[in-house]
Amino acid sequence: MRVVIAEDDALLREGLSLLLKSEGFDVIAAVDNADDFLAVLDDADAAVLDVRMPPTFTNEGLQAAREARRRRPGFPVLVLSAYVEDRYAGELLSEGAAGLGYLLKERVGKVAEFTDTLRRVAGGATVMDPEVISQLMSRRGASDPISTLTPREREVLGLMAEGLDNLSIGARLVVTETAVSKHIGNIFQKLQLSTMDRGHRRVLAVLAYLRS
């Protein structure tokens, strides 16, 4: 898989590139700003972007991610950030959630999980950092349908937002896959998502979760 890295911090840029190469990724470019990233966009299969980059060090990475996905709809992007901001997550997801990831930077330390996430994002999954999920959880008001979910259902929804499938969710929570399906059915019902479009519902559930 051809990956482009955009990260302004030299140490992290080199480290990421070293890490991905050693894990079998083909790092075609490691750049330090959004423009250089967009220039090599067409040659890449996926991108790892830092949110804050020059010149203003605010959310250049997010802008670049949206621009990339405007040019190449569905282009897989994994956004890394020093801190999570659910508003950023909402912004990212507002124009389609497939092939999107939003993670805290330190997740790169768990090399196996990180590369796994990158592969899943490249495969079209939506992955949100658990931190985003817990931030959202703590902010929900009583009128929100999310607040009607049981703690276990929230956990399941959180793991869905992390882009895991039923089997992996079952493994994480140490329950059977059937139990997971039952929880997910309840979640869909409580969030009033139709039973028709099965494939999208997971994404829709996550979106319901992320949009306040």
Binding site: L18, L19, R52, E106, V108
Partner: protein, 450 residues
Amino acid sequence: MVRTTVFLMVLAAPSKVDLAIPTAWALLRQTEWMITTRLRRWWRALAYLALELLASIISMGLFMVGAVLTPLLLFSGGWLIAPRAVAVLRWWTTKARLRVARYSGVPLAAEYIPIPKNPSFEERLRLVFSRTTGRDSLWLVAHGLLVPIITLLCIGLPLSALNSLLIPSYWYLLPPDQPVSSLYPVTSWDGAAWMVLVGVGYAAVSWWLIPAAAMGLTWIQARILALPSKSSLVERVTALTASRAAALDAHAAELRRIERDLHDGAQNRLVGVVMMLGLAERTLEKNPEDALPHVRRAQQAATEALAGLRTAVHDIHPPILDELGLEGALSALTGRSAIPCLLTLTELHRVPAALESASYFIIAEALTNANKYSAATEVTVAVSRGQGSSGSTDKLLISVEDNGRGGAFERPGGGLAGIRRRTAAFEGVVEFDSPAGGPTTVRVELPCGW
């Protein structure tokens, strides 16, 4: 005065003999004292009135220039010079306050809202139509138009008295068709004799009138020039609201800077540590002998993270300020400068902690700028406590000057902008001068009186 004393001594000489005399002696001493002090007071009042006369001529000139120029300039570029005109007016009224205070012995405080460096149109309007400007203008008109008349009259009186007393000695020298004519034409010895009486009358009136006029003048000027009126309080509240907003902005900007320092500095290094350790872990699993470089890089990144944290913490509040106080901290700061730095400190007394840290950072920023851009061979830093350029309140005065190449300019987010931000938070004034070819001077005044 000397003559009076001699005269009294002569009178007092037999007093040792007669018992009734000591009371008379005491009475005489008392009278002598009264006369000399009255005389001294009278003389002082006369000098004051003469000084006011001279000053009022300048006031009249300023008033006329203002009266002619204001209508013209309102329609041309008047707004451009308005702040300068207000500055001149403030300077002149401040001088008047000092004169009044020196004569009456009662200090006259004046609180002015600082004139912004590059005022917007709205700020110019507010400046021109402010209560203080109105008050100063009223004073200028009164001073320029009334004071010359009053003072000329008062100073004229003793001169007339002198003239009248001297008339008997010279009236006959004048041609009969052009006699000396003060109150009435003096054409005979009789008339001249009466003139002596008139002179005494003049002298008596001036003896009483001159101190009274001086008192009256100081009183009325003090009434016009003094603070605080209710509306100037309103003005002050407006200014304070603005400075509070600036303080909050400065505070928010400060927090943003700290946040960025931590996120992009220390935190990124720590992410690096985690990443390198992750890499090392993977390498250990696959081929352990290649893991060492990753561990070394992790260690390197951790060391950098620590250094970053240290800098960030130092920039929040330099611990040296607590340890050594402002003076000591500044000595340490200037001692670290790559360009030789001369520090002049006068007695600073106690400075509020917030001001200490603001002054420390202002000087640090200015020195960093000088070290980075000026190519100077010497920097002088001076910190003192005193009165600023505008008004009379207690100020902390900072100046940083280098002999470098000059041409420095203010960039958003740059060192100078930082200095301005920190100064604005304290209602201070920044003056920045850096002509091409140098020298570069940064002057800051921070009010201390709170």
